[in-house]
Amino acid sequence: MDLMKVFSEVNPLLFEGLKITIAVTVLSLLLAFVLGLCSCFFALSKKAPLRWISKIYVGLIRGTPMLVQVFYVYFAIPQLLQFMGFGVRFTPFTAGLITLMLNAGAYMSEIFRGAINAVNAGQMEAARSLGLSHAQATRKVILPQALRICLPSLVNQFIITLKDSSLISVIGLAEIMYQAKIYQGRTMQSFATYTWVAIFYLVLITLLAYLAKYVERRTEI
């Protein structure tokens, strides 16, 4: 059990995996941001069917494990599409991207909804009393404040999604955890390998958390 030897061998592999981890996490979060915002507007809509759509979506994601969602997107949906006559197969990257997007989008929807509700009702009234429409007031007055309120929660979601991306390794996406599993399978150095993987994630996430704190301080109101 040679910790340092394993470290020097596994480290380059983890950095290879890091590229994929970052790519799938960042891309999925950008899409989830838009999806979450849409779902949140549905949730706050006056039209009941739109509220139901948001409720069902958030309920489905929150009510099922992430691993089930990964398998569902990668295996179940392509088979369903095949029955319907469409021969679609997702690459592990696409399937991972879709899963993480759908998953984070649902949680972000709730984060946004909470933040919008947390903006003082007097803000909307003041904007409306000046003649702005509901949409204009939302865009110019409510959303800028809501985004600042939910920044810490969004950072938290970023960290959760980054960690959840390790689950995508089960369908063969060559991210950090996948690289580690391959190396461990080859060398049987379970303790050393997974110790280094844990430290690798820990350092990565700690750095991100510091960055987030900095951004948060800069945008305070």
């Binding site: 007097g122 003041a126 904007a127 409306r128 000046l130 003649g131 702005l132 204009q136 110019k140 007055v141």
Partner: protein
């Protein structure tokens, strides 16, 4: 000439609770009307019905010949001509003072950026805060924030101003600076409806004082008469309470 604001049999319910029980009122252009009364009397609700922050349950409101209670009327257009000042100021905390004032005229494309900025500077001078143009709202005292809120409302160049207890959230030493801005506004011929507990202000500035209680107008008179010689027993009781302190 018809009145600028005509309120006809206005009722407002919150669920089953009737807050306004048939308000009738006409306000001429340039008049200053102060609304007084105990809390829960419906005076703020009445004020908020005028610009439809509260939707009237039934009754009719006419402003500058437009029946605003008609569902076909674009209420956003109507509100541009009615400024409102709130008890809690409600400045936009993410914008600085100048941006607060410029936001609505710019967003509604009524002014170019240059015109809006010029207007903001002019208004800040008028409320005595020229040096605070770049400050953030939280850096200002309550009295300063409320004066910015007045400037923000004036940036839309309204011909009616509504004040909802504008000095109630202020420390006592800051009440005067806000009232003097309002006095100046009144002297320039602005139509004003002011819900207030400042009896001195009502006495000095109002053309008419309205006493509301339990969702109706109990008594209405010029200030001299209202304060010296109230007729309704409820008015007498209320004024005795607020004037004895």
């Amino acid at each position: 000439m018809t009145a600028q604001i005509i309120v006809n049999n206005l009722h407002k319910y919150f669920d089953k609770l009737e807050v306004l029980k048939g308000i009738n009122l006409e306000i001429e252009k340039g008049q200053v009307v102060c609304v007084i009364g105990p809390s829960g009397s419906g005076k703020s609700t009445f004020l908020r019905c005028i610009n439809h922050l509260e939707e009237p349950t039934h009754g009719e409101i006419t402003i500058d010949h437009v029946i605003t209670t008609d569902p076909k009327v674009d209420i956003n257009k109507v509100r541009r001509h009615i400024g409102m000042v709130f008890q809690q100021f409600n400045l936009f905390p993410h914008l600085n003072v100048k941006e607060n004032i410029m936001m609505a005229p710019l967003e509604l494309k009524l002014k170019t950026k240059k015109e809006a900025e010029q207007k903001a500077i002019e208004l800040l001078e008028r409320v005595g805060l020229s040096d605070k143009a770049d400050a953030m709202p939280k850096q200002l005292s309550g009295g300063q924030q409320q004066r910015v809120a007045i400037a923000r409302a004036l940036a839309m160049e309204p011909d009616i101003m509504l004040f909802d207890e504008p000095t109630s959230a202020l420390d006592p030493e800051m009440v005067g600076e806000v009232l003097s801005v309002m006095k100046e506004l009144a002297s320039m011929g602005m139509t004003m409806v002011v819900v207030t507990h400042e009896m001195g202000f009502a006495n000095d500035v109002a053309d008419r004082v309205i006493f509301m209680d339990e969702g109706i107008i109990m008594e209405e008179a010029p200030p001299a008469e209202m304060f010296a010689n109230p007729k309704n027993p409820r008015t007498i009781e209320f004024l005795k309470k607020v004037l004895s302190v």
